[in-house]
Symmetry: C2
Subunit: 312 residues, 2 copies
Amino acid sequence: MESRHLRYALALAEHQHFGRAAAALGIAQPPLSQQIAALERELGARLFDRTARGVFPTTAGEAFLARARRALAEMSAAVSDAGRAARGETGRLRLGFIGSALLELLPSVLGTFIRDRPEVRLGLQEMSTRRSTAALLAGELDLAIGRGAPRGAGAEDLVSVTVGRDHLVAVVGAAHPFAGQARVSLEQLKGQHLIVAPAEEEPTVAAWLAGLLGEGAEVPARAGGVTEAWDAHTIIGLASCGVGVGLGPACLRVAARPDVRVCEVSPRVELPELVMSFRAQDRSPVLAAFLDITRERCPGVAERLERHLGAR
Amino acid sequence: MESRHLRYALALAEHQHFGRAAAALGIAQPPLSQQIAALERELGARLFDRTARGVFPTTAGEAFLARARRALAEMSAAVSDAGRAARGETGRLRLGFIGSALLELLPSVLGTFIRDRPEVRLGLQEMSTRRSTAALLAGELDLAIGRGAPRGAGAEDLVSVTVGRDHLVAVVGAAHPFAGQARVSLEQLKGQHLIVAPAEEEPTVAAWLAGLLGEGAEVPARAGGVTEAWDAHTIIGLASCGVGVGLGPACLRVAARPDVRVCEVSPRVELPELVMSFRAQDRSPVLAAFLDITRERCPGVAERLERHLGAR
DNA sequence: CGAGTCGATATTCAGAACATATCGGCGGTG
DNA sequence: CACCGCCGATATGTTCTGAATATCGACTCG
């Protein structure tokens, strides 16, 4: 039995007339008679009563037609569902990101995405760059936002584009000696207790800092001591109560509370770029849609993406 | 798109391998490749990722396959539903009957039917013979049980079989002069107030009675007076409280209460037969099943039915 | 009783689905 | 690094089936 039989039976039930039903189906009358007869033979049951006043379904026909309607509805739903999934209008996007991405990049991109693709289920999880890279390679994420291009095993399977640049700023409590300064020098920082992201989780940032502060070794080994904090709000909170000098990207200003001061670091120090990564072989249309929106919003991202997508 | 495409896609998703899926489908590998390709072309979306480790559905493929499974399930349900309806295992039977049918005939027949065909929805409605005949012709009933073969316009479209015979008995209260008698004569009845079924609703019975009592006219015109009662229990109730002498079929004994006496009428008077009627052109398998059961239970009905059914 | 309508049947034809044979690409292996 | 084997895609021929045309038989209606 093919779905054609269902369509023919439904048309016949609707028009109650072989000739008109066949015309509505775009075929001649004899093939319709044949197909209905074949269907009835296969089922071993008469589905229609041919009377002088028209063709009417039997009890068995009624039962059959009710199911047939649902079956055809499921089939057309299969087509439309597949199409929507292929166009990225539905599906799932699992996104891992570092906290600072929540300050500037994600709010606008996510807002647009949610408005454009309301039926896409979004999975959002804040995590370190290292973890998001690993999760991406393990297939647990579809997109990762972190600092610095992913490195190490498997990184060649990922595509990364720069979606933002930041320079280093220092955050101090209002009572701190630096509070009145618009800028602090690297020399000044060397004697301070520093609040930074954990070295193991953000290796790129940690390496930058270590180099910046004139040491080849780990940041935690610095004189003056180091406190590791996982996210922007913790850094700001610790700085506000005088624990030390928080160091982080300039976008920290967005989250700055009234009781802290943000100072430029002099000379200006560029941080590893905010980088968006995804699996090179990932053909998900949802991902493509998200990248499209990112492309629109972040001029300069476009070319980098084009180069990769064009190579597919 | 045909259901074949759904079956092929599901097989491919199950085996994750074109060759094995084709073997499971009983076809060669090239046609499977072709049909899947045609399906993907029609949908405008890739449904499967062909990798070195196997064939896996894409996101769109997952969405499609979920619907496809349901569609095919509906199709096979359509087949089985139609088959069950055709075999009379499901469906509906609307039955109109006179009250006395509830006393002997229906209890056993209905019991068997409900046990054999639990999924058939039964519509049971007590009504007069006249009304059940009209409802049968109007298509509001599938089967009618009454007294006397239906007559009048449309009766030739009905098939009737005798399913029971009864003779007339008289029902009186325990205090009635007849109470001690085993039998009463027609002469004795002539002076009594009688309780009978309404003439308009049970014309066959009324005609019999009128003839019996030696009058060409209507029963209500009889000296002694007449009360019309619709059902057996009312006749018995009125008789028990001394309203008069109830007249009805012998099966009234089944419903007789302790405070009434049932007397044979002498000479014995045969009542119009209990008749089961249905539309001659009704091919409903549920009706056929009900008739089968009736046939098994009522010997003698068989030949009458065979004659009709054989003529189809 | 003849005309008209409707569904079934017969026959032919075209297209689609399938089978056989072969090619191209990708991994694994000596 | 070349070779081999596996797998899916492609090419080509064959078969089968669904559809069109022509016609028939049954029933209705004027």
